[in-house]
């Protein structure tokens, strides 16, 4: 496997040694692959937000090790900021991180911190902006004059400008309407392909997982509940509804049809996939 970021027996305990002690992560093992989009799904309190903070070294695991390219990220704690450049983290509602006078300057914040020269910075800002769908005409505007969806994309561009090997996005589409959601999530595939980066998408939405991800990691109670390719995870969709996750409604339709004797085959978790399966089914029947 071509993994870049790997967690070995990682545990995280909040307020250790106080009455408020809470185990948020319990001996988690995962590896994230290059060029793949991995979905991370689970309830609030399942430990997925905690996990996100461990990936780029905002927090240090209580136990266990996070490996980036085979190297323990906490080997030299003073150089943890280097890890943060390589593991780009887009936090929830990232638009609150915008602060500079222009969108251009704001996107350039991280590249400047990286100590790059002006030519390189300019190139990165352009690339990142176009990846995130920020048009040239917006670059000289104040970030505070953008619309909600544009702000979100500008903030994402600010992380992409670091050209991270791992891009982690915590609920990047929260609160956006369908168009805004597909604009943001749709650009992730291109980033994963072009930079052969590993993209980690944290989401509550099983539909987004089905639609945009290659692999899915399901978290529950601070542990990995199940993980695998989208096909593998969604073939046992009932298992997920047991831990209270919403299965896409097409999957519900598929299982209800199966219960009534109509067995479809194929990628049965997107509208597109089910459509193909039904067309295929009709062909078979007509033979």
């Amino acid at each position: 496997m071509n993994s870049i970021l790997e967690l070995k027996d990682v545990s995280y305990v909040y307020s250790k040694g106080t009455p408020f002690e809470k185990v948020a992560l319990d001996k988690v093992n995962i590896a994230f692959e290059k060029g793949k989009i991995t979905g991370l799904i689970g309830h609030t309190g399942s430990g997925k937000s905690t996990l996100v903070g461990l990936l780029n070294g905002l927090n240090k695991p209580t136990e266990g090790t996070v490996f980036l390219d085979g190297v323990d990220i906490w080997e030299k704690p003073k150089e943890i900021s280097r890890v943060r450049y390589r593991v780009g983290l887009v936090m929830q509602y990232p638009e609150y991180q915008l602060f500079d006078e222009t969108v251009r300057e704001d996107i350039a914040f991280a590249p400047k911190n990286l100590g790059l020269d002006d030519v390189e910075i300019e190139a990165r800002v352009r690339d990142a902006a176009s990846f995130a769908g920020i048009g040239e005409e917006l670059l000289d505007k104040s970030p505070f004059d953008l619309s909600g969806g544009q702000k979100r994309r500008a903030a994402i561009a600010g992380i992409i400008a670091m050209r991270p090997d791992v891009l982690v996005l915590d609920e990047p589409a929260a609160g956006l309407d369908p168009r805004g959601r597909s604009e943001i999530l749709g650009s992730l595939r291109k980033y994963a392909d072009d930079s052969s980066a590993s993209v980690i998408l944290v989401s509550h939405s099983m539909e987004d997982m089905a639609h945009y991800c290659d692999n899915v990691v399901v978290m529950a109670d601070g542990r990995i509940h199940s993980s695998g390719t989208v096909d593998e995870i969604f073939s046992v969709a009932e298992k997920l509804s047991k831990i209270g996750l919403d299965v896409p409604s097409v999957s519900k339709i598929v299982s209800a049809l199966a219960a009534r004797g109509i067995d479809l085959k194929g990628k049965l978790y997107t509208v597109e996939g089910v459509k193909d399966a039904i067309l295929e089914y009709i062909k078979e029947v007509n033979k």
């Binding site: 009455p19 903070g53 780029n56 905002l58 900021s81 943060r84 450049y85 780009g88 983290l89 936090m91 990232p94 609150y96 991180q97 915008l98 602060f99 500079d100 914040f109 991280a110 911190n113 990286l114 505070f144 600010g158 992380i159 670091m162």
Partner: protein
């Protein structure tokens, strides 16, 4: 972590102190402060400490929480205590002498008194006020105590409302600050190293988003309040009407008695010399 600070936080509960009228608590806290500054000898300090411990016990707050509240000021406390130890000159021979540094019994006594005074002051007032009184009822209390000023045109209600909203949003802003710091750290911002100028510069990416979001919050909150028919104190009633009850009177009496005893102890024939000797005895025994 910033969120670990308990000083100034409210811990809801149903203890006898929680149930007191906020005005009673404000008055008692004032009396307590007076008492703290009147105490001048071991006996009165012992009484005060005892009083503070009783307050903590009655409030049913855990001692841990209360002492955590003191943690943020320990450094300042130690520093001032040290200055007191070194800078106080006394009569008689110094306890310790090294070059120009002379430590006298009086210095140690004074430092200990000072430290005890500050710690007791914080414990007493926070147990009486912030820990056990919801900020809203605290402001209600202040509003009510200051209401005579309304007659001369002081906008007491407005100030009280501003204060309670400020209190309501402190935890929210603390959370927000941490969030923004993490977001900027993820972009390589460094808040902890570099020269003073650089560190001040590093705060810009933190402060601007914080201001922007606070303004947005303020605007949204104002709208939400208007939607809930807020129109200042015009025609406004209260869920909790402030009323002195039997227990308030009881507490006033207890406090008055305690204060009287304390005053008695302060005029007892103690002076620094004797208390110094007491400390010396204690020290030698250790």
């Amino acid at each position: 972590m910033i969120s670990d600070i308990t000083l100034g936080q409210f811990f809801p509960g149903y203890s006898p102190i929680h149930k007191l009228d906020p005005r009673t608590k404000i008055i008692l806290a004032t009396a307590f402060i007076v008492a703290v500054f009147m105490a001048n000898n071991p006996v009165s300090f012992l009484l005060l400490t005892l009083g503070a411990l009783v307050l903590v016990a009655v409030s049913r707050l855990s001692f841990k929480v209360v002492f955590k509240g003191i943690k943020p000021i320990i450094l300042i406390l130690l520093f001032t205590a040290l200055i007191n130890v070194f800078m106080t000159s006394g009569e008689g021979t110094p306890l310790f002498e090294l070059g120009i540094i002379k430590i006298y019994t009086e210095g140690i006594v004074r430092a200990v008194f000072m430290a005890v005074r500050v710690v007791i002051l914080i414990i007493g007032t926070s147990v009486l006020l912030t820990y056990t009184t919801s900020p809203i009822s605290l402001t209600d209390g202040i509003e009510s105590l200051l209401s005579p000023l309304k007659k001369i045109g002081v906008p007491v209600h407005t100030f009280a409302m501003m204060m309670s909203i400020a209190l309501r949003f402190i935890p929210t802003l603390v959370e927000e600050t941490e969030k923004i710091m993490n977001a900027q750290k993820s972009r390589g911002a460094d808040f902890t190293s570099g020269s003073l100028v650089n560190r001040a510069k590093a705060l810009i990416p933190l402060l601007i988003p914080l201001f922007v979001s606070s303004f947005k919050r303020a605007e949204e909150l104002a709208t939400a309040m208007e939607c809930r028919c807020y129109r200042g104190d015009k025609n406004r009633t209260k869920l909790v009407k402030l009323e002195y009850k039997g227990r308030d009177i009881l507490w006033f009496l207890i406090f008055a008695a305690a204060l009287a005893i304390l005053i008695l102890t302060t005029v007892l024939p103690y002076n620094l010399d004797i208390s110094g000797q007491i400390y010396e005895i204690v020290f030698y025994q250790i």
